[in-house]
Amino acid sequence: MCVVCGCSSPATVAVATEPQVHPHTGDLHFGAGAARVSVPGMSQERAIQIEVDVLGANKAVAQQNRAHFASHGVSAFNLVSSPGSGKTTLLCASIEALRKRAPGVAVAVIEGDQQTSFDADRIRATGAPAIQVNTGKGCHLDAPMVARAFGQLDLHAGAHAHAHGEAHEHAHSHAEAHAHDHDHVHPHDQAHEPAQVHERGHTHVHVHGLEDDHGHSHTHGHAHTHGDHHSHDAAHTHGHAPGAHSHNHGHVHDHAAKAILFIENVGNLVCPAMWDLGEDAKVVILSVTEGEDKPLKYPDMFAAASLMLLNKVDLLPHLRFDVVKCIDYARRVNPGIRVLLVSAQTGQGMDAWLDWVLGVEA
C-alpha cells in the first residue's frame, strides 16, 4: 500500500522517499511516511533482499561442533525418539557393553530433557560422564546448547590434557567451537612412527582424540612458530563470522572411533529432526511397543536418521508388531536408512549396534 495516500499503487518505495507536501501551505512533512520520522540518509520505505535460511545460524554452529568433534577424535551420535522408547536404558546398556568391548574408548553423554537431571543421573551411575541440558520449554536441543555442553565434558578437556603429553594450554574454555583455517593432512599412514609426530617438538593445538597414538603426518599449510601455539590459537580462534570460517582439516576419520559422544535428544519425534547439532549421524530409536507406522507418521525424523534401532525386541512375542512392515515404512521415507533390532534388556543385537557405533562393521 502506498504510505502517502493509501492507494494500492506498487510504486510505494519511490513515492515514500519524498516528503509529504501540504496542498495549501506547501509545508513539507518528512515524518508522514510509514516510519513517522525522518532519518538523514535513510529512505522511508525500502526493500531489503535477505535470502537467509532461518536455521542458518544453528547450522553454522553445528558445523563448528562437527569440526570440533572431528579434531578431538570424537564420533558424535544424536539419539532421537519419542518419550519412552528406552533411549536412556539402551544408552546405559551400551556404555556398559562398550566398556567391556573397547575399554580404551572414552564415552560421554549429553542428555537433553525439558526438566530434571534424572537421565544424566542414570548415565553417571554407570560411571560415564554426563551433562544434563534442560531445555525448559524447548522441545529440542540446538547446536549452541551442544557446544556449551561439550565444553563442560572431560571428553573435551581430557583430549587436551594428554594427547601430546606436553603441557600446553589450549584456550578452549569458550563455549563455541573454534575454527581452524589451516590445512593439515592426516593420511593415517600406519607406517609412521608415533614418535615422528612428537619429535617435531611443536605443541600444535590440534589434538586428535584420546590415546591418539597412531601416526599422523602433519602437513601444515600455514606458517606458525612451533612452540608458540598461543598466538596460533588466538589467530585461529576468534574474530570469524559465523559460517565464514573454513575447516580444512583435510583428514578423514575412517579409523575406528577413539571417543564416543552420545547426545540424547529431548523425547520428541518432530522438532529434533530440523536441528543439526553437528553429529556424525542421527539415530532414531523406535520401540516395538509403539506402532510400526511411526515412520510414516513422523517422516521428517526417519528421513533425517542414518540408523533406526528397533528397541525392546524381546517383547515381540507378546505384541502384534510387524517388523517387516515397519522396516518397509522406514525405507519408504528414507531408502538408505540402516535398521538394527536390539534389546537393551536381553542384550540382543547389541554387538551389531556397537559395531556400528565403533565404525567397525563389515
Binding site: A16, E45, A47, I48, V52, V54, A57, P299, D300, R331
Partner: protein
C-alpha cells in the same frame, strides 16, 4: 512446537539485517517455506503473531510463499515434484526418492521504514 523457535530465528535474521543496514521497523516480511521443511504454517503464523508485539516485526505484514518439494527419483534418474515425504514418484510410483528441494524455511526479503 518448534515453530516458536523458528519464529525466534526469523526475528534474529531480521535483527541481524538491521544491525548491518539500520531501519526502524518492518512493514512487510516475505518468507518461503518448503513443503518438506517440516514447518506447520498455521503454527508458524501463530508463533510470529505472538512474538511480534514489542519487536521490529510489530505490525508487519507477513507473507509466506509455499515452495513445492522436489526429489530425485533413483529409478527414473530425474527430478520429480513431490508434496510430502510420503509421496511416491509420480512417474514410476517408486519410493526411491531423495528430497532435493523445498526442504528449507527462508527469509526472502522485507520492506522496511
Amino acid at each position: 512446537m518448534h515453530e516458536v523457535s523458528l519464529a525466534g530465528g526469523i526475528l534474529q535474521v531480521v535483527e541481524q539485517t538491521r544491525a548491518r543496514d539500520p531501519f526502524e521497523r518492518v512493514t512487510h516480511l516475505r518468507l518461503q517455506a518448503g513443503a518438506l521443511a517440516g514447518v506447520e504454517l498455521s503454527a508458524l503464523r501463530f508463533a510470529l503473531e505472538s512474538l511480534a508485539p514489542g519487536t521490529i516485526l510489530d505490525g508487519a505484514q507477513i507473507d509466506i510463499d509455499e515452495q513445492p518439494g522436489t526429489a530425485w527419483c533413483m529409478q527414473c534418474c530425474q527430478s520429480v515434484p513431490i508434496f510430502s515425504r510420503l509421496d511416491l514418484c509420480p512417474l514410476c510410483e517408486g519410493a526411491q526418492l531423495q528430497p532435493t528441494g523445498g526442504t528449507d524455511l527462508k527469509v526472502v526479503d522485507m520492506r522496511v521504514v
